[in-house]
Symmetry: D2
Subunit: 317 residues, 4 copies
């Protein structure tokens, strides 16, 4: 399990991340190609980070998007789906390994409290139950803040990346306390909207689809627009629209770049059949995996067919 | 039941039809808007009529396409699907009513033979079995030729349109001898390929689709390309490709005109997924029925979506 | 190209075939496993042969079903789709090779007439056009009757199987006059309805589906019922219902036996969604080909799932 | 907006809920038909409540399932999808209205801290930003615990239902501080597995589907199994399987009861095509809405078709 990042141009300017320093978000940001003069700016929440992009206070923001154990980071999904449009330009996939941090010499048997972000606790639930069953959990707004609480003596220990120990003057009491090895978090780098970078050959496209009305089968209709053009989905989340139970929008990742005929025509079709389509970007996949291109769906297949249609319409075929 | 014809410009020049004079084909041709100088040219077979168009000997040909009782006229389907391309420019739907023609005064009890085209006999089978059960059937290449045989005394009677009686000097021994009332034959007018006439608002498009390979589900894939764009089919025939049992091509009529986005994109998609698509024309329906246009599939829906896609690709949406 | 026949028990009793003696139908019948006492009974038409089964006059009938060049034998399809139910119990696939028969010594240059069944003429069209371009075609009710006409001197020549020459005292003037080599006709053996023979492991099932109403997409719905259960279609013909242009029923062959869960559930579903389903038999394929069984559609998959459902419904899963 | 509950038999015995007293969960539980001797048992987490059912410590548990603003309660989804099976027997839909609670007389301008469950904070974000922009948010494990913190003076205020004020000796400083009116949370009552209650005529069925493998289109295949049998989905969530990004299972609600043919056959089909299907219950909808039953999918349609199939298989149709 290693860190994987989109092959993109170095990111420059001011870049917000879900801080404070010492979070996985900061580790993710540091793994990206960064311009020499990049300025990392910690944000207290995902919302604050994204709003800072919108307001122009920063040039980009790195925020968590989904975790292989906890699922979607719903605040990120919901913030990207609403408000002024933003665009994903890169992604980072970071292995998530937790350590238990505390003051040097503290024995596990003496731990009475453990702080962490609410997402971290369930990922270590079994380890905690087995090793420090009597320790009370204390919610923190980030794992780094949990470390800070431990440093301040407000709690005994914190769940955080081991890289946070040094910064907060703590010791690693236990490594790899996560219940499931191989957990990963995918982060996205978001900027203000613009023309997407040219296709890299291994891109992903993210969109939000809003059903025209909640008629039975509308989800299947949406999926069919992808399938009929041979476009694979890599993620599909339903999210409430906030207008009542049973009303959803869909956050979707698909293989390929909006510049390609197959993805472009699929999105154009969705624009027709959905109440709204929000384009959230085409960007290089962190894993560099090329899209599957089923027979008859390559760009040249589409171009040849369009030529044929033009000729037939003019009576030249 | 009345004759219905496409609203088209008067047909001019030399026009072949499945002759001889006195056939339903001639009656269909006469029902079309014809230029004053049109010259009707009888052909002995569908093949001869279509080849005369191909060779330039005639400007157009009217041939039977399908019958509401007997089904597709397979020789027409197969000839249009192969050889040099031709294009349908109009259609005629003619009620089919048969009369028993013979010499004046002949009693039904005395009839020993009845001639007709092989398509006519099954349409009158029950009437024949009931009224002249002992009469032997004699195949003729057309109903008009059957009338000619009756006139020549080679057979007693002929099944033909009552309009053929006068031309062949025969009497109508019985009217409406068809078993099923309401039978209709649809004829098409075919010319050499060219740009289709502009959309009339109530057009039909005819194509022939050849499967890329005989993989299970290929027919469903083809139908899905129409369905996902809201294009209704009005006729679907499978025809052997001649390369072995189990290998078919599909002759299809759909609602709408190739100039429309919905039909154009569907055909373009089929061009990708099929081994071959032969466009056989977009032309006004004889019944003047407008296509159903499901939500999100109008031309303006397609145009708006294409505009949106162009804007998004440039970062302007 | 060899004759292929269903592996079935010997056919016994009186069996009608499309006569007279010397037709391809008779050749097909002779290729079947026949009981010693079988009595072959020529019929003048497909309808007569099938009605003889219905009336009990014969025990079975062999009739042509489809040809790899000419397509479906529509009279067979339509007769099986209507009237008292019948059931297909076996099939024969016969290579179709035509010879030109005439009196010994007749030179091709001297041929002025050629008789044949209307289905035979188009299969030899190009040969005729090249070798005896001036010969007039004369329709006959069968190729054997054409041979009889040639024998009687009413025509010069007949198109028929070379095996008919000896019986009618004619010479083979030219062998293999068909335009396309490899043409085959598939014949079916039909009896009165009964429980189908047990599955052979390589069966075919034939049904006729009548749309509930002519709503757009009904054909796709029907095909989906097969596809979702992994049942491949091997033939699909639309036929007019006789109630007006644009109203069709569908004659369908699929892989597998009605006793299998996958085929049975598909037919049961079609029974729900169609206005009518006519079962025309499950019988061994002449080519012995086993059905493709996609993952999760075997009989044991269905049985396991049914068991699971029963347990879950009782709270035992 | 009123509370809606499943019409079920009174719930008896010990019933866990997400405590402490004063939570929306307790309010939901109190709205159900309860046996006189029911004993409400607060649990500190969803996991604890569900494990108490599994262990037999309680007879049932009421836990939050989804919220119209925040979406799925992922801990509930994930806990129901794994571990020993449990079964949903009822649901409650509760309008969610938040109040700001604090000591009587506290002015908004003086509020420096506000505690709440992490789900509550985002639902009141805009109100908080406008009215107490400088107040720091403090995470609590429940809104009731937040109230307790406020009571203890550890924070100034808490977000909770106004019904919690009295219990914790606090005043309602502001009513209806949620950003979106009309928010609702759906709770489910869960027991150990057993035969579901008989159909009420307005049931919902909940299942978890695990893809057999991550092949493109597997989600569409699953949805097709519902669609082809006319079963509407009312909720569809993807959840990570924990085995890596891009691997999901699907938590689904559909209309109808597993006893019905349409739902039963759909689930049975899914059992074939999925790696696993976990049945989570058929139970009366809180809103009493009857399922849409498209043509040809009623129980009598299925029964008639099954009868037909049985007859045809025996040769009796």
């Amino acid at each position: 399990m290693t860190v994987r990042v989109s092959e993109v141009e170095p990111i420059a300017g001011r870049v917000a991340y879900l801080g404070p320093a010492g979070t996985f978000s900061e580790a993710a940001l540091r793994s990206l190609p960064l311009a020499p003069d990049v300025e990392a700016v910690p944000s207290v929440t995902v919302v604050a980070a994204l709003d800072a992009v919108r307001s122009g206070d920063v040039d980009a923001a790195l925020v968590p998007f989904e975790n292989s154990v906890e699922g979607a980071v719903t605040s990120t999904l919901d913030e990207l789906a609403a408000g002024d449009p933003l665009q994903i330009i890169a992604e980072v996939v970071l292995p998530i390994r937790f350590a238990l941090l505390g003051r040097a010499g503290l024995a596990l048997d003496d731990v009475t409290t453990v702080a962490s972000h609410p997402h971290a606790q369930p990922q270590c639930r079994r380890w905690l139950a087995k090793n420090i069953p009597d320790a009370a959990w204390v919610a923190a707004t980030s794992n780094a803040q949990a470390a800070r609480l431990a440093r301040a003596g407000e709690v005994d220990t914190a769940l955080a990346g081991s890289f946070a120990a040094r910064r907060y003057g703590l010791a690693v009491l236990a490594e790899d306390v996560q219940d499931v090895d191989g957990a990963e978090t995918r982060f996205v780098v978001v900027s203000r909207p613009g023309a997407p970078a040219p296709p890299s050959g291994h891109d992903r496209t993210t969109v939000v689809l809003l059903e025209r009305d909640d008629h039975p089968g509308s989800l299947m209709e949406m999926l069919t627009e992808f399938a009929v053009r041979g476009v694979n989905l890599t993620r599909m989340e339903s999210r409430p629209t906030g207008t009542g139970l049973g009303r959803y929008c869909f956050s979707i990742d698909c293989e390929g770049h909006i510049e390609s005929h197959r993805v472009g025509e699929a999105l154009s079709a969705l624009r027709r059949v959905c109440a709204d389509v929000r384009f959230l970007g085409s960007y290089p996949r962190a894993d560099g995996k090329e899209p599957a291109i089923p027979p008859a769906t390559s760009d040249s297949d589409f171009a040849d067919a369009a030529d044929w249609l033009a000729r037939v319409r003019r009576g030249l075929a």
